[in-house]
Amino acid sequence: MYKLASLIIKNRIILLVAIGLITIFFTYQLQYLRINSDFIKSLPNDDFVANQYKILGKKYKGTDMGMIILETENVYNVKVIENIKQITDSLRTFEGISTITSLTNIINIKSDTAGIEIGKLIDEYNLPTTQAEIDQIKQKVNEKDMYKGSIVSEDGKATIVLFTLQGDVNQQDLATEIRKKIDPLPIKAKVLFGGFPMMLKDISDLIIKDMLWLIPAVSIVLLIVLLVSFKSLKATILPLLTVGIASVWTLGLMAMLKYDITMIGGVIPVVLAAVGSAYAIHVVNYARQLTDKNYLENLTQSLAYLFLPVFLSSLTTVFGFVSFIFGSYLLMIKDFGMFAAVGTFFAFLLSITFIPAILSFLPNKIQNVENEEIKPSILSDYILLPLKNLLFKHPKYIFTFWILVLIFGILASLKMERNTNISAFFKKGNSTRVSEEILQTKFGGSSPVFIEFKGDIQSPELLKKMSEMEEVIKQNPYVSTTTSVAALIEELNDAMGEGYKIPDEKAKIEQLWFLLDGQDVMQQLVSENLDAGVIQSRFASNKSTDTEAFIKSINEYIQKNSTPDCKISLNGMPSIYRQMDKSLLNSQMSSLALAIVFVFFLIGFSLKSFKMGFYGIMPIFATIILLFGFMGIAQIPLDIATVLVASVALGIGIDYSIHIISSFNFYFNQTGNVHQAMEKTILISGKAIVINAISVAAGFLVLLFSQIVPIQFFGLLIAISMFSSAFGALTLLPIIIILRVKSKQ
């Protein structure tokens, strides 16, 4: 270690120049950094559901659906109808949009004694101009489920323009262009945007907003915490500079390797600031106590001493992040794990190179080495001392308290929910969330559902099953609208005077089909080769439990009715969400298990005792149970960001245990007295632990100001985990150690 340390100190100028150059290089790379919030792409390329979804998109002119909502006093108004046409026409100019459905272009099949008419509900080139004409349209809308509650709200106060995107188009760019084009239109109604592509764009905007102001905010919070704790400019600026450079390197590397910033990737700099500053603080703080005499030699020696603990501390955190690479199914989480780990490693590297190199030019003014004596302070007088007294007086009570808390945590964690639905990522009152709520309550939701029937799509048997299935799914409280070719055939059959049903003879179906041939809507409902067709619907809940129940009921029906001649399958956003949901739970389990095993072995090896390794993970284990319990009680769902908390907390919080154990071992060897050793441990290490927990928690609490709900929860939960693991390391762990040593004696 000494060799390495002296190598660093000797080559400090070369090191500083190299770090400077690398930083310039990665800063230059930052311009290529791209934001991508499309988390469907987060499912791996070989994911069956995601692949089927893509295939469906190609087959039926796009599965990704956007919506423009017009909210007004009364939709049935000459001006509003004109506006709908304006919006429809504007959307037509986009190459990336494959289909548009609105009040002014929707198909209408009409039949009466005079005959049948297959046309449009409104002639867009001859828009209604009188109230009488408008009233006629209103009547038609109210007669058909296809329009009412689907394209015009039941109360007649809102209408939507639906559009689907071509599969290969960049959704976020297109969404941006659409807003640019629609926003300036002179629309006499409130215009809102909804649907997955529009939400992706909004999330991307929020990621940028978040990054632009959360990073400075975290820096300021850290600055204050460090300044208050150390009352030294050097001890404040250097750690901040270190995590700043580590962040630039990490983001620069992401840009260079063409990795996009995702919703959770955006918090990497915040994570690095909170986590990485600890290593830098360690080095700076240690060096502050060096005397001026033989400064460089002292610095080299202390660096040699610090190398291992700082390395271990960063290694546990890196392991916490690495567990996502191996334990997670979702690419977004894997990427986060990879770059957070790389960033943590950068922060470690800089702490042992950059900081000593700079420090070597900044000798201390202190002449005497400060002794590691216990100085009275608010922290030790009011928290640590009473805590120590309580521990020694009532170890069993505290142990029982922890057991009760854990039982409670386990029970409460059973209530934990999961959420992968993007609409819940927006804060209450956010316009995207508002439009999503309108879509859910008035238009049957924005999550497209596709039930595909493979087989001869013109056969009566298949169409009858399709029609039956439509009735089945409409029974779900969150499904209010369906469209299929079966429904159109039934309507035409009725128009031919044979009743609202699928004809028994194929010949009849083929001839009715002739009338539908070439209608725009047909491309969305049947495959080109007529060997498959879909029921298109929308699902109006973003709760995992509702989605699960819906998918289960549909799959039960599919199992009973799917035959080789008529293969039925379900896909769509609910299926994608469910896939993400399942993988969230799996990710949580496997990444956490991996992280625990990693860390257990790491402490075991470093303390040369696996028993100690086992005790060491107890506080963090308890913290994780508490964390899940808290999520259960506070109704914070497991989502794309909160799924990260447990492993990250483990990686950071385990340091507290290492601190306590190694400190106890040291003093116990010195004194041979359990109580004395533990008292010193709690008062000396306890202080460092509490300060670290406060500064890390403060850094993460800044995320409460994020615009994205899961990120807010992420910040809150990490902060809670930090306090809990500090508390665990200062109560639960000492008691286990005391009881253990006592039982031995």
Partner: protein
């Protein structure tokens, strides 16, 4: 003063040219109508080939008879699943549909004329046998080689903002029509091949391309006979059902 005068002169010259052009446009279009709609009646077999963006083809055949410009009976003969389906068009947008599987006829209306006819790239509007002059206001854009290029502006609002027609200078049949939407974007294009049969010019082949969908419809007319003396009685619902 001088410059104002000369500007006025230029303006007047320009205006008079425009007038001459307008007149020219009108007279050209009238001649086109004469060529296209002069036969008393016509019967033919129609082959309709639908070509999708992957060049996959689907062929339909139909027999068509027509009298004047507003009576037409169109009966599909193949493929088997569509054989027998027939459309009867009568004056004033009256149209009947017959479906043999149902053994029933139904009056069918297309209140919206921009809808495509039976999966082809022709809209009902495109297939209408109405004189150009009654539908469009022409403007002569230029003469190019052996053609006139006319800009036709629809007299009633519809799918197209304008149609650019290229017309044979000597025979007054159409070479090409290009259809522009209301955003002034070319959306469809039709290429005509005319053949002289007897004294009439016949559109032996029309290829209509939907540029947005990248889909083509080729309409080939064969066994064309003109002026065989078809009667009004051949265009009745009773005949449709037969």
């Amino acid at each position: 003063m001088k410059s104002i005068l000369s500007m006025a002169t230029i303006l007047m010259i320009l205006l008079s040219v425009a007038q001459v052009n307008a007149q020219d446009g009108n007279s050209i279009l009238q001649k086109v109508d004469e060529v296209m709609f002069s036969p008393n009646d016509m019967s033919a077999t129609n082959k309709i080939i639908l070509i999708d963006k992957n060049q996959k083809q689907e062929t339909r055949e139909a027999k068509v008879i027509q009298k004047g410009t507003d009576k037409r009976l169109f009966r599909f003969t193949s493929p088997a699943s569509q054989a027998g389906i027939a459309f009867l068009s009568l004056p004033n947008d009256v149209m009947y549909l017959y479906m043999p599987a149902f053994a029933k006829e139904r009056r069918i209306s297309t209140s919206v004329k921009n809808q495509n006819f039976a999966g082809t790239d022709f809209s009902y509007d495109d297939l209408e046998a109405k004189a150009f002059a009654s539908k469009y206001t022409p403007k002569l854009l230029k003469t190019e080689g052996n053609t006139f290029v006319l800009e036709l502006t629809p007299k009633t609002k519809g799918e197209y903002s304008k149609v650019i027609a290229t017309i044979n200078k000597t025979e007054y049949y159409v070479h090409k029509t290009e259809f522009y939407d209301n955003g002034n974007k070319k959306i469809k294009e039709a290429i005509y091949t005319f053949k002289k049969i007897g004294k009439y010019w016949n559109p032996a082949e029309i290829v209509m391309t939907d540029l947005k969908k990248n889909h083509k419809t080729k309409m080939i007319m064969e066994n064309v006979k003109y002026d065989t003396g078809l009667k009004d009685d051949d265009f009745t619902v009773r005949k449709l059902v037969q």
